[in-house]
């Protein structure tokens, strides 16, 4: 999807600069279904309207039509593939950090490879391979981690020496390299032509394509898409797909019901040169030099080289207007650092003649991941945009997943990391986006290390205790805009500054978190967990109970005052959410979900709760401050503050009671923690937060109370084998697969979502099993630390990946959690995973190419549960979220 302005600009430029390129990109224009001027008028009705004729829009159209949907109209304001798609460098690279992105890129590569044969449109596909260079050991570790992921996916890939680099590419200066990663199947394409090929195929399948038609707004009725308004008339439709690229944000806001699509454009520059004296072979591998922030590919005998500078230039913050086109000019001074990096990498290019510096705006998102999925507020409104300059690599796969989403209700892979619903209105401020993308764009080339936090757009949502905790040495991370404490730096102790603290090894906070963990185990700690999403659902009659019983897998018809851990499952039995629900009264429930569930869970419930004015749901997240009192002395602190008996007889575990704490009344106290330690959650109306905190800290002094943060919490929950939604659990994981059968009441006397799928699994067995691994020969001080996404090997064969890991201060070992699958040795077919299969294997975890022995366990160490108050407590609290 691209602006017409861009197109006009590009035509003038490209014609002047290079006829050959232009001829190539446009040679297939006649095959495109539309010629100008518009010979066909717009249809009055269609099932799907796609806005944007770039790689995303055409890919969605292509895949929808392949899946059998035919009644599709694709609208492009300018001409097909004329925006960012036309300008982009055309590199298809599978070297990605996030597994879902890697899968999309791999699919795209395979799709593009056969596209010319399928459509007859020349795509310029050339399998050149790519070489990612490492100038530092840390970079090499990062590449090795990607290589491990690629290898287990069956994508050829190897770590090579600088000498091998020199053999693969004649121009590279290798003197400052420590190694590289070679991916031989990565490719180059003419991106505009790939898009045209997809359009051609789609149009043969019946998709109607209309150029020079812009969408002015999307009509919505009763929360559903009903049609679009264009400059050439109206089209009624059931589905709308926003593939408008860098204009997607504006388009999202143009309707009466705004759809927040948080992305922002930045200028992006690359250089084109004339051919070398001896023109470069078109099969020469693409070079990515992340430490130099550049990429270099062969282009018509010369090179094309661009990069991601440290000081990006965001644009179109105030929306689109005529004036801004003038800014899209070459900025050589801005490009200077990248040019220096290029000449350092390929000194022989000095004498090469410049053809042009291209300015190609790209859109970036707040977390460097693309945006896809259905709007949480408008049903039938789908989005695919914000590609963070990897549109060509993702285009095929992303289009496929979105098409599956629309046709089947959900994609064939877990795309939560890319789901539009991970964002809400809070990420939609233009100022926030402008600042954040200026941080995100340079990150494209920065080292991706564990536990990394964004620095911009911070301190947006905070607890009332923020300043208090900050003054006590809190170090912060952010989740869904909410500031949460990582750990507290004791007075007089200094940590490394941000840049130096980046490591794949033992981090500098190791001992700090260790002492917080110790305090949780031996005394009592306070953790501010206010970021949790909190809903109240109530009704005049039994509607609330009935609806929730249908939407949740556990039995919620419990006595008032009880707390139930339960999954919110989809039809396949997979976790859409994992939450705790307290029954406040016969007719009202208090639901606590992970922080980043605020938008997704709301939309899920809203779409499924009956439309009944007697049934109300309210988001009360902002109303309560949540303090977690954790540790064996929590009970003492609380009983002294409330003058109420807190003994197990009066306050059994998984219980909820309103009581007074200090002077403050109406504090909702629940006997749950999220780590398996004894303790309480206090839900405090925000105006009492400071008072209660002060009381707790004063009273707790004699019990050795101290503040703790999420890193301690994380270590505690992982060593006890607690899974957490969004990291370990996703829409493709069922309770049966993660040892949570006890949270499913198949016989609760009424139907619930996912029941059938679970019954089937109960009968037939599961195909993957959540397993805990204790690293055996791993040296915490000297070895690379596990993170997540490490391949798991059983008897030398790949069986799955880790989903989270932490150092257990109690076991003094690293613990990794992950899923084990069983692939048939010959056919690769997935087989049922049995307890025996898990128990009878020798396991290894691959951390950046180095394998560590690991012991697999299906149940946590009972010795870790210091405090056992009810027989089944271990199991019942076997639940965690972060």
């Amino acid at each position: 999807a691209g602006g017409m302005f861009l197109r006009l600009l590009s035509d003038v430029r490209w014609r002047a600069v290079n006829r050959k390129w232009r001829g190539m990109t446009c040679s297939q224009r006649s095959t495109s279904s539309t010629a100008e001027p518009h010979p066909v008028s717009l249809p009055a009705k269609a099932q799907v309207v796609i806005c944007g004729g770039g790689i995303m829009g055409t890919s969605v159209a292509y895949h929808l039509s392949k899946m059998g949907w035919k009644d599709i109209v694709l609208l492009e304001q300018g001409r097909l593939a004329a925006g960012t798609t036309r300008f982009c460098a055309g590199i298809v690279s599978t070297a990605r950090h996030v597994s879902i992105e890697l899968k999309m890129a791999d699919y795209s590569n395979k799709l593009y490879q056969q596209l010319e044969q399928e459509t007859g449109v020349k795509t310029g596909y050339m399998k050149t391979g790519s070489i990612s260079l490492a100038q530092t050991q840390d970079r090499l570790i990062s590449l090795k981690r990607i290589a491990s992921s690629l290898n287990v996916m069956g994508i050829p890939c190897e770590i090579i020496t600088p000498k091998q680099v020199a053999q693969l590419h004649p121009l590279i200066n290798i003197h400052d390299l420590v190694g590289a990663m070679y991916v031989p199947e990565d490719a180059l394409v003419s991106s505009a032509n790939v898009s045209l090929a997809l359009a051609t195929a789609a149009s043969r399948n019946g998709v109607q394509i209309h150029e020079r038609t812009s969408v002015s707004h999307v009509s919505v009725q009763k929360g559903r898409v009903t049609g679009v308004e264009t400059d050439r008339g109206q089209i009624q439709c059931q589905y709308f797909v926003n593939c408008a690229g860098q204009w997607a944000y504006e388009l999202g806001h143009s309707g009466e019901e705004p759809v927040n699509i948080p992305l922002h454009a930045c200028e992006h520059f690359y250089l084109l040169t004339h051919p070398l004296k001896e023109p470069l072979a078109s099969s020469l591998p693409t070079i990515v030099d992340p430490d130099g922030r550049i990429y270099i590919r062969n282009w018509q005998g010369g090179i094309l080289s661009g990069g991601f500078e440290k000081n990006p230039k965001p644009l179109f913050t105030e929306g689109r207007n005529q004036l801004e086109i003038q800014n899209l000019q070459e900025d050589w001074d801005h490009f200077e650092p990248l040019l220096s990096a290029l000449l350092r990498r390929m000194p022989d290019l000095e004498a090469l003649q410049i053809m042009q510096l291209v300015n190609c705006p790209e859109s970036f998102t707040p977390d460097m991941r693309c945006i896809m999925g259905e709007s949480p507020t408008v049903r039938g409104y789908f989005v695919l945009a914000g590609m963070n300059s990897a549109g060509i690599s993702y285009g095929g796969g992303a289009g496929k997943y979105l098409a599956e989403w629309m046709v089947n209700g959900y994609p064939s892979e877990n795309v939560w990391p890319l789901d539009l619903k991970r964002f809400g209105t809070l990420q939609s401020s233009r100022t926030f986006l402008r600042h954040r993308v200026m941080e995100v764009m340079p990150l494209m080339c920065d080292l991706k290390v564990p536990r990394w936090d964004f620095q911009t757009g911070r301190q947006l949502r905070t607890s009332p205790l923020y300043d208090r905790l900050d003054a006590q040495g809190a170090r912060w991370m952010e989740k869904h805009g909410f500031e949460r404490v990582k750990y507290f730096v004791p007075p007089g102790k200094d940590l490394l500054d941000l840049d130096q603290s980046k490591t794949f090894y033992k981090p500098d906070w190791f001992d700090i978190v260790g002492s917080e963990v110790k305090c949780c185990k031996e005394a009592v700690c306070v953790i501010d967990m206010s970021s949790f999403t909190k809903f109240e659902i109530s009704s005049t009659g039994d509607q609330a109970l009935e609806s929730l019983q249908y939407l949740f897998s556990n039995d919620l018809d419990v006595p008032v005052g009880h707390v139930v851990h339960t999954g919110m499952l989809n039809e396949k039995g997979g976790y859409e959410n994992d939450c705790s629900i307290a029954r406040l009264s016969k007719r009202s429930f208090f639901m606590i979900s992970p922080t980043d569930q605020q938008v997704h869970c709301w939309a899920w419930l809203k779409n499924r709760l009956p439309d009944d004015s007697n049934l109300t749901m309210e988001d009360v997240t902002w109303k309560y401050t949540a303090l977690n009192l954790i540790g064996p002395r929590a009970v003492d602190v609380l009983s002294e503050l409330s003058y109420a008996p807190i003994t197990p007889e009066h306050f059994p575990s998984l219980f909820c009671k309103e009581m007074s704490v200090g002077y403050a009344n109406g504090i909702r106290v629940m006997s749950i923690t999220h780590t398996g330690e004894p303790g309480f959650m206090l839900y405090i109306p925000i105006e009492y937060a400071l008072h209660v905190y002060n009381e707790v800290m004063n009273m707790g002094q004699k019990y050795g109370i101290r503040n703790a943060g999420y890193y301690a919490l994380r270590s505690l929950r992982i060593e006890k084998f607690f899974a957490f939604w969004g990291q370990d659990l996703d829409a493709f994981t069922t309770p049966m697969e993660c040892g949570r059968e006890f949270q499913v009441k198949l016989d609760k006397g009424m139907q619930f979502v996912g029941q059938e799928a679970l019954l089937e699994q109960k009968q037939n067995g599961v195909y993957k099993r959540f397993t805990m691994f204790i690293l055996e020969d791993h040296d915490t001080d000297m070895d690379l630390w596990p993170w997540w996404g490490e391949p798991i090997f059983r008897n030398g064969r790949y069986v799955g990946k880790t989903t989270s890991s932490a150092y257990s201060y109690t076991l003094e070992r690293h613990v990794c959690l992950g899923f084990v699958q069983h692939f048939d040795e010959k056919t690769g077919e997935e087989l049922v995973v049995t307890t025996d299969f898990i128990n009878q294997g020798e396991y290894e975890i691959d951390i950046a190419g180095q394998r560590f022995q690991a012991k697999a366990k299906l149940y946590p160490f009972s010795s870790l549960f210091t405090h056992r108050r009810r027989k089944d407590e271990v199991e019942l609290s076997g639940y965690q979220r972060e």
Binding site: D331, D333, F335, L339, L343, E350, A351, I354
Partner: protein, 458 residues
Amino acid sequence: FYLTPPQVNSILKANEYSFKVPEFDGKNVSSVLGFDSNQLPANAPIEDRRSAATCLQTRGMLLGVFDGHAGCACAQAVSERLFYYIAVSLLPHETLLEIENAVESGRALLPILQWHKHPNDYFSKEASKLYFNSLRTYWQELIDLNSGETTDVKEALINAFKRLDNDISLEAQVGDPNSFLNYLVLRVAFSGATACVAHVDGVDLHIANTGDSRAMLGVQEEDGSWSAVNLSYDHNAQNEHEVERVKMEHPKSEEKSLVKQDRLLGLLMPFRAFGDVKFKWSIELQKRVVESGPDQLNDNEYTKFIPPNYHTPPYLTAEPEVIHHKLRPQDKFLVLATDGLWETMHRQDVARIVGEYLTGVHHQQPIAVGGYKVTLGQMHGLLTERRARISSVFEDQNAATHLIRHAVGNNEFGTVDHERLSKMLSLPEELARMYRDDITIIVVQFNSHVIGACQNDE
């Protein structure tokens, strides 16, 4: 032997001073945003002085640079005293009365000036009583003269300059019982100083100049480029009007001997100055004062030496030439500097360098390859060179320091050459004066918004 960049910086920044006008002082919004000043000595000790102060009983701000010769005593005295004379000249009758009454009855005095001083800018403690008495005599006369008319700034500046020079002359003639002070007032009178002073009040900018320091306005044109407007005339042999004036004031018979080798009486470069009684007093008066003066003075060959062709004194005056300028929004800054700067840099370059420094924008034409044949290597060289030009800006937090860096370190291409800068700054004391003069610079930055608003009000 080379100085490292940090060493160079510590030398350049030793005397830098910045003052930012508080944005909301509760009274009025100032047309001055603030100023940066700095000095680089060539003489040891430096003979330049600088002053800056806010008038407290009237509106406005005073800034000045003073270039001393034949020692620093006169420049020092003028830097301490002149602004008081100006402030007093500007005061309305009632305020003068109030001040006089306070002094008379031993009450606390209304503060007249708020000084903005670098720690190295000292005031002489010993002479303060003497200076105060002279000033008091001046305001008492002003009270007696009460004309009832509101004070005209131009007139006030001229009166203050002339009165101070007169007081310097008188104090030396009368002497002081304290031998230290007696020697001091004589040194002040026998040395000399030029002065270039700005008074800014809203859109009214007055420059009073005596001698060859210079005031220059930095103007930003509509296309963003910078140009310079002179707000003072140099009083030296290069100024025809000035030569004309001197000739008019003396008999035709002296015409040939008045200006020789571009110097007044073949000796003095500036044609107007404070002090320098050797060019003002009669021969008899000079002889009497020197003979009755302390031994140090008597033994000094310079003071005893009478200029040749000395027939009709005075040959020199401290009366300033005053230029009034109404500030416009495009007037972004004012540079006051002693001749040490103007000897090395053209005013147009000064305007550009300061303008680009203050706006942070480097008006370098963007590069476009267009149809030219440019190689990557050539482009890289060009870009690196452009970058170097920009990066020298960011070393400095002070516009005056930045200007000095250019004045001393510029190569033939107009960019700062570290090697040259290092050489110039590491010259031994006795050689330094051969290659460069003392440099003193004040850069005053204006608030275009306030100026624009004032303009609209008028």
